[in-house]
Symmetry: C2
């Protein structure tokens, strides 16, 4: 039995499908499908750390908070991040426990509420890039910009509601709870951590951390997490089985295995979309450059096959 | 240095004062005051497990969900419990880390998203007793009872909005994540667990757990947590320094030290209010009966003095 450490980063569809409203029942169904795959990877003998996105869940909270500001005060983005870690962490640990039992794997599971340190000098604070929350009309957006000091941008020109709030997406620098995460992992526990890219915090002069209004990219944070636990493999799950060149264009070609140099070269040529495959490739490259081992990008349903080397896109030194 | 394990159960005012709206800033201020005390107890040499309520935070979520049902689907009570564990757990671990550093205590802190098992045969499912969420007029309440199959009760007769939704408050039977909690504690980590009484789950025929629409009393769950970690002391923090006989009546008398038999006798005489001091005394009695050691009830600002034996109400065999 291998004792390799594998970090799995789950895509948005692992918890809520794009065409769903996001009821508790729907989310539990998706989480059930997801954790069934994760249990199989655990059964294959890996020590697992799981991380995940929180876009739709945080988005739902932001809508509720904005609509109800007259009744109850909305919380900061950092608090919303913490809430979704509890929410998604619970659903995952609940269903993963069941599938581990079915696979005959004896392991406790623990969701760790995770802070991720960023620098408030990060250039993204000057020019926020990450859209969050609901879509607005131009008029609504400009009103919110004035009333709440939001930075707003037109993100889908041509739509009736084409504007959104944008927030900084700074580089993750450190996983604050790495000690607890490693303690648990070394004790044989499967850890769910750094959900939604982690709760973004900055270090103050007095040594304390405080929340910042930002959202950290979950794949980048996933790499920092992989580094913090000295992972052997980094598995990024998304909605396609393999990474493609010329995706959805003439000459589309699936990639099975590529070196860091090849990945960097394709990235420079603009093969990978920002906000989609781009950050995943980038996180994979960072991981392999750091550890010298393997990053894998594939779809949820092919996870186990890809870990065994039979499908997916493998990035190696 | 003592290696005794102490479980602290925090009252509602540890996170949100009754006269506050509950902004992130207000809650962080209260949590800061609270964790300063907890850090002093850690400095005194105890291995700590912290648990807390979530009434105002879960209440805020329920209001937002109800108002926005047309925009985003509300989540179940169990999910709301999980969300508030992330929210409050983060605020506490964030400020506690700072105060530990100031006290020179080196310890990691970990919030564990915690499920607590209940039985769906619990009699409270037949006659729900725990009010949750907003107050309604009679008309609104009866409408919701029909539309959403809520059980509603008039809880403050004479008020314009005197009705509330009531949900079952079943007996906690087991802390599902007790293994991870003990692993962390044995590794020297301060654990925050079972917030809001824990996420209520029932065990299904296939061995899985699923969330139930219920709220577990946090003091009762605190006792189960104390039992799960084999605690030496159980410290229940509330808004009074000591427990009183004839509270706010002629002949009011503070209690310094009482035996389980005395506590039970006073309880039978109706000295302790249901929904207030009653559950705390009851949890203290259960703890001492189980462990033969000491439960302490006091106020947040007297916590350290009370642990040292200089104030508070001490319940012993």
């Amino acid at each position: 039995m291998s004792a390799e450490v594998l970090v799995v980063a789950l895509g948005g569809n692992a918890i809520k499908q794009a065409d769903e409203r996001g009821t508790t029942e729907e989310q539990f169904h998706n989480v059930d499908v997801t954790t069934k795959q994760i249990a199989k990877i655990a059964k294959a003998g890996y020590r697992l750390v799981v991380t995940h996105g929180n876009g739709p869940q945080a988005g739902a909270l932001l809508i509720q908070q904005e609509e109800c500001e007259h009744l109850v005060p909305g919380q900061t983005l950092a608090v919303c991040g913490a809430m979704t870690q509890g929410q998604i962490g619970w659903m995952m640990q609940n269903r993963l426990a069941y599938h581990l039992m079915r696979e005959g794997v004896e392991a406790a599971i623990c969701t760790v509420v995770t802070q991720v340190e960023v620098s408030d000098q990060d250039p993204d604070f000057q020019d926020p890039s990450k859209p969050v929350g609901p879509f607005y009309s131009r008029e609504e957006a400009l009103h919110l910009a004035e009333e709440k000091a939001y930075v707003v941008k037109e993100v889908k020109p041509g739509m009736e509601k084409s504007w959104r709030r944008v927030v900084p997406s700074p580089e993750p620098m450190d996983i604050v709870e790495k000690e607890s995460i490693n303690d648990l992992l070394n004790g044989g526990v499967i850890v769910i951590a750094s959900g939604g890219g982690g709760i973004p915090v900055k270090k103050n002069g007095d040594g304390s951390y405080s929340g910042v209004e930002a959202v950290i990219d979950k794949d980048r944070a996933g790499f920092k997490l992989a580094q913090a636990v000295q992972a052997d493999k980094f598995l990024i799950l998304t909605d396609v089985e393999k990474v493609y060149l010329n995706f959805n264009k003439p000459g589309q070609k699936a990639l099975d295995r590529l070196s860091v140099a090849e990945a960097e070269s394709y990235e420079e040529q603009g093969h990978f979309l920002a906000g989609s495959m781009g950050p995943k490739i980038e996180a994979a490259i960072r991981f392999v450059k750091w550890s010298g081992k393997e990053a894998i990008i594939t779809s949820l349903d092919k996870a186990l096959e890809a870990v065994a080397g039979n499908t997916g896109t493998h990035i190696t030194p």
